[in-house]
Amino acid sequence: MPTITNCVEIVMKGTLNETAGLKNCWNVFHYRLVAGTMDAFGQLLGDFESKVYSFALAQLSADFVLNQMLARLLDDATQQYVTVTTAGNPGGIALPRLPGDLAIVTPMQAAQRGKQYRGRKHWRGVPSASVLKDELTAGAETAWLAVAVKLQGQFTSVTGTYQPCVVAKTLSQLKSNPTTIIASDVTSVLVNKTIGTFRRSKEKTQR
């Protein structure tokens, strides 16, 4: 099993505005250091936001707002998250939007076989303008394919270069030191044309 070190977990915390209140939306990313030295996490988060995440945010509904970014090193089980609070960056496409339990799905594939080495991101706050019935419009699909390129590629901060990877949470041992991180580098990020579902994010039933 492929073991890695210098693996950073990045959590992007946002909210989706619903009638019943604000729904928390989290996206978790894993990157490993492939060149240079580890950056300060504040710097790393800023660069991740500007060089990767902002491209996805630009394709989401204005009802989605990015509030916080968090990072921690998985190698040290005792390390706490470093938090950076944003000014509240909204998605780039105007309302209306689809219900919050529908999502754009970007599956992530790695070189290794098996469920542990596949991942996917669910992007909630889907603008109605990006969708025609059950699928993304051709324009939105093109835009999301460009986002997928950003998600797949390495990004460079001030002192280090980082490669996206899929961490096998059940195969890894991350709860106590010394940790064992089983992961595989992302080799491709796809875009599902069909709109996916994300039941956890459904608005509490209003009658």
Binding site: L95, R97, G100, K133, I195, T205
Partner: protein, 210 residues
């Protein structure tokens, strides 16, 4: 357990073409018990036609025009497998044009009875939903109110041409037993509420395309 008089279940089958060309089947099942009249054998064509005229025709206009009514299928023993009895009546098509939400998005009709427990409540998933009646995660207030008026008609009893009277029930498939003779366990419907929040019917979702 409350045992019902003879029950007929009517499956309303519609077809929706997904964006990618796949044809998805959308089925809603309604059960009625025979409360008065000469009893079996039942005229299932008349049953379907009466249900069509008194109930479903009033609700279907809220569906998107992508919904094409295909068939009413009647089951005199609701626990039997398909095909059931294909009736001569055809359901109406959806009546609202314009954009629509993905097929997996639906309006939930919350069905209640006078009895407690999971076997005595249910949900009907109504879709495809036109975009014009949706705002964010919810139905617009006007659409919810208009739909509720028509959905209340699903609670009414009706009499078919053969003289039998039918009233809507919630049939517990888990507690009922297959016949012959079938034992129908359930309870009369007391309320159907249109949920403002849109629901999910993941099984109707278009198969993933990349």
């Amino acid at each position: 357990m409350p045992v019902l008089a003879p029950v007929v279940s009517l499956a309303v089958r519609g077809l929706v073409t997904a964006s990618g060309g796949q044809i998805r089947t959308v089925v809603n099942v309604f059960s009625y018990q025979n409360t008065a009249g000469p009893g079996p054998p039942f005229d299932l064509n008349s049953f379907a036609t009466t249900f069509h005229l008194t109930a479903w025709t009033l609700v279907a206009p809220f569906l998107h025009t992508d919904y094409l009514g295909d068939a009413y299928i009647a089951y005199t023993d609701p626990l039997l497998n398909p095909p059931g009895t294909l009736t001569t009546q055809a359901p109406p098509n959806g009546g609202t044009a314009g954009g629509r939400e993905p097929i997996s998005s639906c309006v939930n009709f919350w069905c209640q009875t006078g009895l407690r427990g999971r076997s005595f409540r249910s949900v009907k998933r109504f879709g495809p939903v036109p975009t014009s009646i949706v705002s964010g995660d919810e139905l617009t207030a006007a659409a919810q109110a208009a739909m509720q008026v028509q959905v209340n008609k699903l609670l009414l009893s009706f009499t078919t041409a053969d003289g039998n009277t039918w009233s809507p029930v919630l049939l517990s498939r888990q507690l009922s037993t297959e016949g012959p003779p079938a034992v129908f366990v359930g309870a009369p419907l007391t309320a159907i509420t249109v949920n403002r929040t849109l629901g999910l019917a993941r099984h109707r979702r278009e198969r993933t395309k990349r």
